[in-house]
Structure formats: structure tokens, C-alpha cells
Symmetry: C2
């Protein structure tokens, strides 16, 4: 790459830092940009430069938004006493994309993972506890759906939160965990044994 101008090499290097983009794709992106109208590169550049200052974190649920409250928390159509606890905003989006969920969310910001030095205090767990506590003063019934991922870390996080919420001693607090088992359209034959075991455990009357 010695023959490429410095500005191109610098941009290729910057693109390479993005996830899923290696040296070849990065070069391809830069050459594509060089062949697009200048209005696009200017707009894209400005949006990238400003994105972090434009996006705010919701003060209630830690979802992303452009104001103090996110779109979900702002809506008066959502049940504020049904809180779905997720690890990340992308998980929230996955549930929103399905549609049909009428409650609100609480974004933890990850899962408890000692190997990565992520403890309960690095997540928005204390915030969840006090949110539920405060909610219990005005709401008769509260449901907290623990929707952290069905991984080792996600399960540990769900268990930890379950214990902490139970310690509050709130009456009429319903704690649920999202269902695990075989994904729809999959084959028992090809499923991994942990998933099959969980599917057997989670069997329901029909």
C-alpha cells in the first residue's frame, strides 16, 4: 500500500477499526467514497462526527434517545409497571421489531462477566432496584421480565437480579424469565445438547 496517498491510508486504517471490516473491505469503502458525490461523503462524515453528541441515554431505562426520555418511556401507550430487563439496546430493538410488547424496558448495559471484569456495579442493576422500589409505591402490580441472554453470563445476571428484587420484599412483584428452548424452524437432530436439555426442562402443557 506504499503507493497510496496518506489521506487514503489514514482513512483505510480508521475504517479497519470498525467491527467486521478488514483491510480489503476498508480499502473498498474508501475507493467507493472517492467515486461518490461529494455531498454524500460530507453528510456521512458530519453524521459520524456528531453521532455521539446527538444520541442521549434515557434517564429512566438507559435506552438511547435524543432527549432525556427515550421513545418507549415517552409513550403513554406503554405499561410502566411491566419492565423487560435486557442486556443491550440491540436486544431491546430485537423485541421491539417483533412488536406486541406493551411494557417498558431497562437496559443493563451488559451482563455480569467476571472474566471481563464486569461486576454487578458496572451494570444498571442498582438503578433497576430503585426503579422497581419507587414504582411499587404507586403501582399495585409489577412484572419484571428478565430477558438477559440465555448464556452463562446472562443467566448469572438474571439470577443475581432475581435475588436482589426478591430481597425488596415487594408484594405482587412478578418475576419472569424469557423462554429458552429450540428455536422455531430448527431440528432436534441438529440442536446442541444444552438447548435440548433446556427445551425439555421448559416443556409446557398443550
Amino acid at each position: 500500500m506504499a503507493e497510496l496517498p496518506k489521506s487514503i491510508r489514514d482513512l483505510v486504517e480508521a475504517f479497519e477499526r470498525l467491527p467486521g471490516i478488514g483491510p480489503k473491505s476498508a480499502t473498498r469503502l474508501v475507493f467507493y467514497l472517492l467515486n461518490t458525490p461529494v455531498a454524500y461523503t460530507k453528510d456521512l462524515g458530519q453524521m459520524v462526527a456528531e453521532i455521539k453528541s446527538k444520541v442521549k441515554t434515557c434517564k429512566v431505562c438507559y435506552n438511547m434517545g435524543e432527549d432525556d426520555l427515550c421513545g418507549v418511556c415517552k409513550s403513554d401507550k406503554r405499561k410502566k409497571n411491566m419492565i423487560c430487563v435486557v442486556e443491550r439496546v440491540v436486544d431491546l430493538l430485537a423485541i421491539e421489531n417483533v412488536g406486541g410488547f406493551v411494557g417498558v424496558y431497562h437496559v443493563l448495559g451488559g451482563s455480569i462477566n467476571p472474566l471481563d471484569h464486569v461486576g454487578p456495579d458496572d451494570l444498571k442493576i442498582l438503578e433497576l432496584i430503585s426503579r422497581v422500589k419507587k414504582l411499587s409505591e404507586t403501582e399495585d402490580e409489577i412484572e419484571v421480565i428478565l430477558a438477559s441472554n440465555p448464556t452463562m453470563e446472562g443467566e448469572a445476571t438474571a439470577l443475581y437480579i432475581k435475588k436482589k428484587l426478591e430481597d425488596l420484599g415487594i408484594e405482587n412483584l412478578k418475576l419472569t424469565r424469557i423462554g429458552s428452548g429450540l428455536p422455531i424452524g430448527s431440528d432436534l437432530e441438529y440442536a446442541d445438547s444444552a438447548t435440548v436439555a433446556r427445551a425439555m426442562e421448559g416443556r409446557r402443557e398443550v
Copy 2:
């Protein structure tokens, strides 16, 4: 995606216009940016916005550079009487990455392709002709290596240039075409018939 803030949706859409980036990767990129230090997003944004104004086209060979002359044309170690004609800058880079080529280049900007309405006048062919003509006034021997791609369009382009250069009637002008055949490490068994035919045609004494 209804619940994402507008600035995120806009950036996702802008990223989707890039080659090889679909809605999922675009979203992933934006979330990655939201979690990186603000210095990186600012730098990346500025570089993207400025790239088109920073990169210039070499006046001699139409390679990219930051001045009137590109790095190859500037170098006094390159033989100016050995011109490798390529379709695009990426092809030039492929040859440079191999190393060992001591001549200079001429970037056509594409290949003759009637279906895409690209005719000889849309490429830097006239510029190549006059470059070779001018060179013949000072150089005793000139070699032009036709390195357009071994596709239908690339072959047509090479043939067209060959004819035009022969029409100049320059003595000691050597015209060559890059070799085609089986790629190194490939298998005769799995090669397509056009490649095998070309490999047979291009056989050499050993």
C-alpha cells in the same frame, strides 16, 4: 426500528449505501461508534468528509495522489518508458503489492463496455496515445503492457488500444499483454473451460 432516535436511523441509512453493508451491519457499525471514544468518531467523520477534496488525480497516469504527480510518477527509480495500462487504481495496487514492477502506470478508469455505455472516449485512451507519442520523441524503446482484466470488456479494451498504438507507427514500441491461464495453486479439474482454453493457448516452452 421505529424506536431508534432519528440521528441513529439517518446514520444507519447512510452506512447502508456503502458497498457490502446491509441494514444489520449498518446498525452494528452505528452502535459500535456510539461505544467508541468521541475522538475516534470525530476523526473518522472529518476524514470521510474531507477525503474527496484531499485526493487528487495524477496528471500523467491518472493514479491517485495528494499532488499533481502520484508517488509512482514522482519516483526517479521507475522506468518511464515502461507503461503498464490498467483499468482502475485497485489494479495498480494489486501489481504494486506484488512488488518488482519497475515501470510506471496508466489508469484508464475502466474498460470499454457498450452495455454500460462506456466507450473509448470515456476512458483515458486518447491520453495514453498522446503520452506514448510524446514519449517516443525522447525514448529509444518503449514497452506498453496491456494489463486490463482478462474479461470480455478488458480484452476488447486491450485490442482497441493495441490497434490505436500500432496506428502511431512508432518503431521499437513493444506491446505486451499480461499472461492468462490457470491461477497458481488451482486445479485443472475445477477450472472453467475458458480458463483452460486460454492456458492451452498461452503454453510456453520449459
